[in-house]
Subunit: 393 residues, 2 copies
C-alpha cells in the first residue's frame, strides 16, 4: 500500500482530452492550506497552466490543490488558453470548496490545441462522483502520455517529534531536457514548513535531479515541479531535521528523474554520464550535456557498440577547456581511451556483457580540476523515431 502524507487525497476521472478508455484528469487535494513550492520551465513559451500556477503562487504561497490533465498541453494558445485555464481552476474550486487561486494547474500533451471545455466538464463531474480518495496511483496514471509506466515513490522519515511522509510522482518520456524544471513532477509532504524554506528545498532537489536528465534535449513548454507540504503530520522540522528532509526530498526526486529516463520514449538504456577533472562545475556540465545529447553516442548505446570515438568526438566539440592529452574515458568501469590514444586494440568483446545491461556508466575525466557533473541520458532507438514520427497525426 502506498503511504500517503496526512491530509492529502487523490482523485482522477475520464475526461477524454485525447485518450479514450482511461483516466486523463487528476486532482491532488490537501485538506488544509499547504505551503506550496514550484519550479517551472525556462522555455520562453510558457504554457497557460505554467503562467497561471505562477500567478496563483504569487497571489498566495498557500495552496490546496494540484489539477493535472493529459493529452492537451494548453501551450502556445494565447489569451484564449489562459482564459480556459483560469476557468478550469474555477470549476475545480467550485466543486471542492476552494478559492480558485488555491488551485495549481498543470497540463501535458499536444502543443497548440485549444482546450476542450466539454471534456473538462465531463472530467470534473467524474472527479465529484469519485468515492475512495486514498490511492495516489490513479493520479500518477491519469497524467501519463507516451509514458509506459506511472512513476510514483514515497518515503517516511522519522524525527524526534514524529514521522514525516513524502510522496512524489512524475510523468515524462519525451521532450525531456528540463532546465530548471522537468515535465510534470508533484511532491506532497505532511511536514509543517514555511513556504520560502519549502520552495528553497524543492528548488535544490530539482536542480540535482530533474535538471540533470535528458531524453532528447528538447525542453518542454509545460515543465513544472509542484510541491505541497501541509503540516498534516504535526511535525515541524527544525534546522538539522530540515537538512535531513531536504536530502530525502532530493533523493526522492533523483529516483523519479531516473524513472523518467528509464521510461524515455523508445529507450532501452539509462546512460549515467560522469564528467570530472574539469576547471569548474560549469565546464563539466557543458561536457556532460554535450556527450549526453549526441545522437551518435545515443545510437551507439542502443546498438550496444562501445564506440568511444563518438564520446571523444562529442567532448571535442563541446567548447569546454581541456587538454586532449589529459582525457580519460571509461565505459562500464573499463578504461578505453587515455593520453590521446586507445587503451586496447579490441575492447569489444570485453565490454559486450556490460553494454547488454540496462544501465551504462560512462566516466570521462578531462583534467585535474575540481569541476564535476553527473547527467543521465537515454539511448536513441528505432522506437523513439517511430513514436515521434507518428505521435499526434
Amino acid at each position: 500500500m502506498i503511504k500517503i502524507p496526512n491530509g492529502f487525497s487523490f482523485l482522477a476521472a475520464k475526461a477524454g482530452f485525447r485518450y479514450t478508455g482511461r483516466k486523463d484528469l487528476g486532482l491532488i487535494l490537501s485538506s488544509v492550506p499547504a505551503a506550496s513550492g514550484g519550479v517551472f520551465t525556462t522555455n520562453r513559451f510558457q504554457a497557460a497552466p505554467v503562467q497561471v500556477s505562477r500567478e496563483h503562487m504569487q497571489t498566495s504561497p498557500w495552496a490546496r490543490a494540484i489539477l493535472v490533465n493529459a493529452g492537451q498541453a494548453n501551450a502556445c494558445t494565447g489569451e484564449d488558453g489562459l482564459r480556459i485555464c483560469r476557468t478550469t481552476c474555477e470549476l475545480a474550486a467550485q466543486a471542492f470548496g476552494l478559492r480558485p487561486e488555491e488551485v495549481l494547474p498543470a497540463s501535458t500533451g499536444v502543443i497548440g490545441q485549444r482546450m476542450d471545455l466539454s471534456a473538462w466538464e465531463r472530467g470534473m463531474a467524474g472527479l465529484i462522483d469519485q468515492g475512495a480518495k486514498d490511492d495516489p496511483l490513479i493520479v500518477a496514471q491519469a497524467m501519463l502520455t507516451t509514458d509506459t509506466f506511472p512513476k510514483i515513490l514515497w518515503r517516511t522519515i522519522g524525527f524526534k517529534e514524529g514521522t514525516v511522509t513524502l510522496l512524489g510522482m512524475a510523468k515524462g518520456s519525451g521532450m525531456i531536457c528540463p532546465q530548471m524544471a522537468t515535465m510534470l513532477g508533484f511532491v506532497c509532504c505532511d511536514a509543517d514548513i514555511q513556504p520560502d524554506i519549502w520552495q528553497d528545498m524543492l528548488g535544490q532537489a530539482a536542480e540535482q535531479s530533474f535538471n540533470r536528465i535528458s531524453v532528447d534535449g528538447d525542453t518542454s513548454t509545460n515543465d513544472c515541479v509542484l510541491g505541497l507540504t501541509n503540516g498534516g503530520g504535526g511535525v515541524r522540522p527544525q534546522k538539522e531535521d530540515l537538512a535531513h528532509l531536504g536530502r530525502e526530498l532530493t533523493g526522492l526526486c533523483q529516483e523519479l528523474a531516473y524513472l523518467i529516463v528509464q521510461d524515455a520514449e523508445g529507450g532501452t538504456k539509462v546512460v549515467r554520464i560522469r564528467v570530472d577533472g574539469a576547471k569548474d562545475r560549469a565546464q563539466a556540465e557543458l561536457a556532460a550535456r554535450t556527450i549526453g545529447h549526441s545522437p551518435l553516442v545515443k545510437t551507439a548505446m542502443f546498438g550496444r557498440d562501445p564506440n568511444w570515438g563518438r564520446i571523444v568526438a562529442a567532448l571535442g566539440r563541446c567548447g569546454a577547456v581541456f587538454e586532449p592529452g589529459q582525457v580519460r574515458v571509461r565505459i562500464a568501469g573499463r578504461e578505453v581511451f587515455q593520453g590521446g590514444t586507445p587503451v586496447m586494440a579490441d575492447i569489444d568483446s570485453l565490454l559486450a556483457p556490460y553494454l547488454a545491461r540496462q544501465e551504462i556508466p560512462v566516466h570521462v575525466s578531462i583534467g585535474d580540476g575540481p569541476g564535476e557533473y553527473d547527467f543521465l541520458t537515454s539511448d536513441l532507438s528505432l522506437d523513439y523515431v517511430r513514436i515521434n514520427a507518428e505521435y499526434r497525426s
Copy 2:
C-alpha cells in the same frame, strides 16, 4: 563529361581499409604547385590528417596533392597516428615525384582505429598502376562511407582573359554539424590566385555553405575543406573578377552542402530553416540551429507531421532574445502560428501535400530586427538510428 580544371588529374585504388570490392583511396594531383586553402574542424580532438595538412600548409602555401582515404579516420590515435599519416604522405610523394609537404592528407571513417599500413601499400601500388587520370568521379566515389551517392559539381566561368574552371567534391552523411568546416570537401580551380586571397575566398564560401548544415549536430574530428588553385587555365582574375569567382565558389559549396544534407544518413527530407527579425545574426543563428537540431522537429518532418508546436518549443528554449507575441512561423509558405496563437484550427490537410515533398521550408520570424540566418537540416528517420546503431560493430 565532367569539366576538369586544367592541370589536375585524379587517381583512385582499392586499398581495403574497411571496404572490400570498391576503391577507398583517392589522390588529386596538380601538375604544378597550386595555391592551397584549408578550413578545418574546430573539434578539440583533431585527427592526424587534419594536423598534418595544417602543418604542411604552414610549411608552404603551395601544394601539389590531396590524398584521401575512407574507412579509417586516423583520429584519436595519438603520436602513432601522426607518424603513420606522415608516412602515407611520404609514400605518395615518392610515388609521384613530390615533396611530402606538398601532399595534403584527409581521412574519414571509424575513429580510434590504428591505420592499416599494408592497406596503404596495397592502395598506393594501385594508384601507381592506374591508367587514364581524367575522371574526378573515381575520387568522389573512393571517399564515401555511409554516403549513398558521390557529390561532385563543376562550373566554368568566363572572364575577359579566358575561362576558369571550378570543380568541387564532398563526402558526408553522418556526424555532420560542421563548425568552420565540413566533413571532407575538395575544390580544384585553374585560376592563378595568390594563396592568401584563395584562403580567404574558401573560408567565406565554407562559412556560407558547409557551416550552415546539420545532420545530427555532431561535429567530426576529421572535417576539412581543402582547395587547390593552380593557375593552369592561364587566367589571373583581378578585383571584380575575384569577387565574381568568390560568388561562384560559394554557390558551388552551397550546392555541395545541400547534397550532403540530401544524403543525410537515413534522411528523407531537406529542411530549409530561415530565421529573420532577430536582434542580430548571432541570435538568428542560435534560433535556427536550435530548431534544426531538435530531434522532435526532425522526427515530425520524417513523419510528415505539421507539428509546429515543436518548432515553437525549440525556439522557446534556444536562449535568443525575442518577444513570444511577435513570433510568426510559416511551414511551406503557410502561416501556422502568429501573435502567440495558432492561425488555423486544422492546417493538417492543407499542409499534407507540401510535407510529402523532399524539401520543406520553415520560416520563423522572431521580431523586427535585422538578424537573419539560413540553415539546412535533415529529418531524423528510422534508418538514421539503424545505420548508427549498426555502423562499426
